[in-house]
Symmetry: C2
Subunit: 287 residues, 2 copies
Amino acid sequence: MKIVESSHEAYAHVHHLRCDQQKIGLVPTMGALHQGHLSLVERSQAECDVTAVTIFVNPTQFGPHEDYGRYPRTLEADLECLSQRSVDLVFVPQQPALYPAGYSTYVEPPAEAELWEGQCRPGHFRGVLSVVLKLFQILPATVAYFGQKDFQQLTVIRRMAEDFNLPIRVQGCETVRDDDGLALSSRNRYLSAEQREAALSLWKSLRWVEQAVAEGQRDVANLEQTMQQKLYDAGAEKIDYARIVDRESLASLSAVDRPSVALIAAYVGKTRLIDNLLLDAPGPPDH
Amino acid sequence: MKIVESSHEAYAHVHHLRCDQQKIGLVPTMGALHQGHLSLVERSQAECDVTAVTIFVNPTQFGPHEDYGRYPRTLEADLECLSQRSVDLVFVPQQPALYPAGYSTYVEPPAEAELWEGQCRPGHFRGVLSVVLKLFQILPATVAYFGQKDFQQLTVIRRMAEDFNLPIRVQGCETVRDDDGLALSSRNRYLSAEQREAALSLWKSLRWVEQAVAEGQRDVANLEQTMQQKLYDAGAEKIDYARIVDRESLASLSAVDRPSVALIAAYVGKTRLIDNLLLDAPGPPDH
């Protein structure tokens, strides 16, 4: 496994492979790797000739009062884990290499970034898209893998790739969950045993919505109200949003009459958790 | 000469050449080609194996009251001219191909874009950088050539390329002038014979500043005041700015004590013209 700190070296290596007709999979991460990340690695290894992983806790996507400083950093364990899986290349840049003095160009996120996470975390997607664009330039891969757990992130990265004509395919991958349904997240390690139980509130209310829609409920206002109540009942302490939106545009809906997605961001203690679930468009009414 | 409308075809062609170890020069233009553009083409042909030119009047860099609608479009003559010079590839995309419905991701320009053109033409550099980034992705060239006449544009493109780790070299090229000093511009064709004479005011006042600095004048406030007076005296009707600034950061200066550049934007009739001149840092004072 090749470990590279230098952007130029990383570019030369991946560009050479791409010119060599190799299919290159890229898995950008902030480290603190868990089975969710590893499922992206496995998917890349199954589909590509070469797999490159990046580990970089990107400062520009954290707000001033967020957890950049205490975000878990477990580089040694991460590298060990990737080495065991025979990942080909790991890019671990230093912060000043990606953001040298005078750095000031950013990506202005697309319309899909305005609501939900965009509203709760101003500047978040600007930081995410800027670093993802940079990584796509440094490691000119064929396809990049992102978890569907960050559904809105996946949507805006896909839109950026399309709008900017980036020569890369953006592949979303299914959320990996613990046996009880909790979506894996590097931030889960902030949770006490009791909080971990309360964190299940997100998954429970998503499953409730899925079931309600399957049973024929269509009214989004009603569904959202119950979903929020179920979140509180099951232990969420503060809800940033719990909404059912259009799966493409992420715009609000009044009825679940098209491919949709339920999006939740909520706090358990001081830990902010997100999760989501695709809701299938119901078939036409029976006559 | 290959003429390509499709982004995918252009990418495939240029990517293949780049993988083939060819040095590819890119000359992005808005058409209405003049000797200024052609000097970029010639430079590319002298330095590279393959030269690609793009012709696209980019709507997103024009303000709502600017001349997008009447910007000169001379595609047939442009292609003839490039064909005569044996340019290898010309990319002539349709507008909806570069800006399809739903397009909404942009480049947020760097600090160097805030003043001067950035202030007079809000959104201009956002549009310029967005389309340049797109063209750099569609035509992954080795080096891109831009005229120094648009000095601030060259500065912000260079900064974007650096900040976003774009694998391309940005090469500035000297301004091409008519015999009397008027910087070539597609917008010069808006000028009447009388206005063309008045348009020389930009070059005359730049030459005056150069001479004054060579003679030992250092005080920027004084120099700018006289430069502006000379502009009006020689026929400029409205001045957007006429400033002497730091050559790297484009920030204001109080004294010409480092590599600097004099930047002018002024109107002759309804035509907005820009020009600039590098001012060399004076040597140490004699003792």
